[in-house]
């Protein structure tokens, strides 16, 4: 299909030039990362974060490391954006945040991802040379929100991962225009809850976070007799395929790539700040560059027929068999 969309990949805190290079070779066109410098950590610790990640493993933490990543990205012709995407930015956070963004810009970052709509204008005014990307966690549920964010100075809107195909298509039909960029999730780590309305955090120890430790598998319907488990059949399938999912443990939208290109999605997001995005990026690149139809190719690459048939993992289940 050879779509012209670009792949945007998240970088974990431990990322170095080697990892960035491997991700670029796999097909990543752009990168984003979390940056929590010493000055921020000294004042607020990790628990009051600039970017919705609350563990050091998800944060690049020194200007030198950031410069190294940006320098390698520049050498490869790739852009790097920094996440400053807390739901609510307080005055003290903005004071430190401006320093953080200045440092990031000096290191070579070319854009900022924000989720508090109230600061889009401030970032755009204070850093006119940086592109403002509005995070999926801002809550872009309709075109009116998109127009509001563009009017504040956004260049790119990232759709929340929970938006379905019909909603995405309808929103984009009302928003598309020149010099406007749109990013949609395509593969990778899922969220149990919706990011724009999830007000708790990822700070607790891995595997015991609110959303990970407390799984849907615990849900029971309370009837007259014994509690009846509400575990969907697909959840059991998911467990059965554990270890056989080369792209990790996330959701997948490979079949939908041609449709996304057609409606005007310009960038495909593969999160990776807290996971390994390499295999996902390879898969997305294979489908993007292939001349053959996306659906059959995607299903053959994934090789998990029962999971594909169940559509349990699909970002856009209504497109999954095209």
């Amino acid at each position: 299909m050879r779509a012209a969309m670009k792949i945007v990949a998240g970088l974990p805190g431990r990322a170095d030039a080697g990892l960035l290079r491997r991700l670029a070779e796999a097909g990543a066109d752009e990168f984003f990362l979390g940056y929590l410098p010493a000055a921020w950590a000294a004042e607020f610790g990790q628990e009051f974060s600039p970017n919705r990640r609350y563990r050091s493993a998800s944060q690049v933490s020194t200007p030198r490391a950031l410069e190294g990543l940006c320098s390698e990205a520049r050498r490869l012709g790739r852009a790097v954006t920094v996440a400053f995407n807390e739901h609510l930015v307080t005055p003290a956070a903005w004071r430190q945040g401006r320093r953080l963004i200045r440092q990031a810009r000096a290191a070579g970052v070319t854009g900022v991802i924000v989720a508090d709509p109230a600061i889009i204008r401030m970032v755009a005014d204070d850093f006119p040379d940086l592109a403002v990307h509005v995070s999926g966690d801002a809550g872009l549920y309709n075109a009116a929100a998109g127009e509001l964010f563009f009017a504040q100075g956004a260049r790119r809107l990232i759709f929340p991962r929970e938006l379905g195909w019909a909603e995405l298509r309808a929103t984009l039909a009302a928003l598309a225009g020149p010099r406007r960029e749109f990013e949609a999730f395509i593969m990778g780590e899922p969220c149990v809850y919706d990011g724009a309305r999830c007000f708790t955090e990822h700070g607790y120890s891995l595997g015991r976070d609110f959303c990970v430790g407390h799984s849907v598998k615990l849900l029971y319907r309370l009837g007259r007799g014994r509690p009846e488990p509400l575990v969907p059949r697909e959840e059991r399938l998911w467990e059965r395929y554990r270890g056989r999912r080369p792209w990790g443990w996330g959701r997948c939208g490979l079949c939908a790539i041609p449709h996304l290109a057609k409606i005007g999605v310009t960038h495909l997001k593969v999160p990776g700040r807290s996971s390994d995005a390499l295999e996902s990026i390879r898969l997305v690149r294979r489908v993007l560059d292939a001349a053959s139809p996306a659906g059959p190719l995607a299903r053959s690459l994934l090789d998990v027929p029962e999971l594909c048939a169940s559509r349990f993992l699909c970002y856009y289940p209504e497109l999954s068999h095209d």
Partner: protein, 306 residues
Amino acid sequence: MIELTVHLDPPRLSGQKRFLSSRRLQDIRTEGLADRGFEARGWARLLEALPPELACRPVTRVYLGSEFCPALGVPRRELERAVDSLRANGLDATVVLGPVRQTAVGGTTALLRRLTRRSQALEVAANDWGTLAGLAELGVVPVAGRLLFRMKRLPRFSAQTRPAPRTPRWRAVLAAQMKELSRCPADIPWFTRLLRAADVARLDTEIVPQGVRLEGRSPVKLSLLLPWTYVTGGGHCPVSDAPGLGQPLRCGRACRESWIVPRFPYPTWPLVQVGHTVFASMSALLGEYLRRRIYDRYVLEPRLPM
């Protein structure tokens, strides 16, 4: 003067005839709440905690609708009947909307236009920025709903999860975390500027355990929802009757008869998950919050809007 309001489910309004005519909190029927017993207990504790002079004041307004689950949207005729019924009994209405997705924008706009013809000065609590921005044009009074009150819920502080030597530096960082995590958006200039641009004069807020701190006077009025605090949620609901997680809207409303009590591996507040939405009970903090003078409206919830 604090305005006393309640958040009710329109389908249950017909069973509240006594309350509608007296407008007294004590006349709100709670028998139907026994099917999810945790709510009846929360309601009883709330009534006990209210200062007596407030508890006997007439209710002036009713919030209608669910902001959390698209499958619990109120059918148009039912909502119109509820608004009519409130008006006939001298009560004002606030229609609560969840985040309105693009495919539902047309229907929502038409609904609000119809409702404004039935009720002057109808309030609408929007829970997404796009809808909020367009409310004033529709002739309704815009309110920023609780999903736009995006203070952190159940934040982790160093003190809770990372035992460390309690050095002066550790204390200073903890104090800074507490200070920022308790900062209320209602007097943050850029946040209120965005609200003013949409002609919004009210923000619906909740109890957050870390406290709510204003550094100045809030230019917007603040409501306080009691006794539940929303924590997290999502549209892909595992309780739905759908044959998979991807089709949340084919819903048999199983959440009306099921819930779970999440066991969180760290000390936290009592939690309950209804459908795919998690709430924390804030009964223990009612006294503290009811003494705060920053609110001019309480929104009492006999039942979770789920």
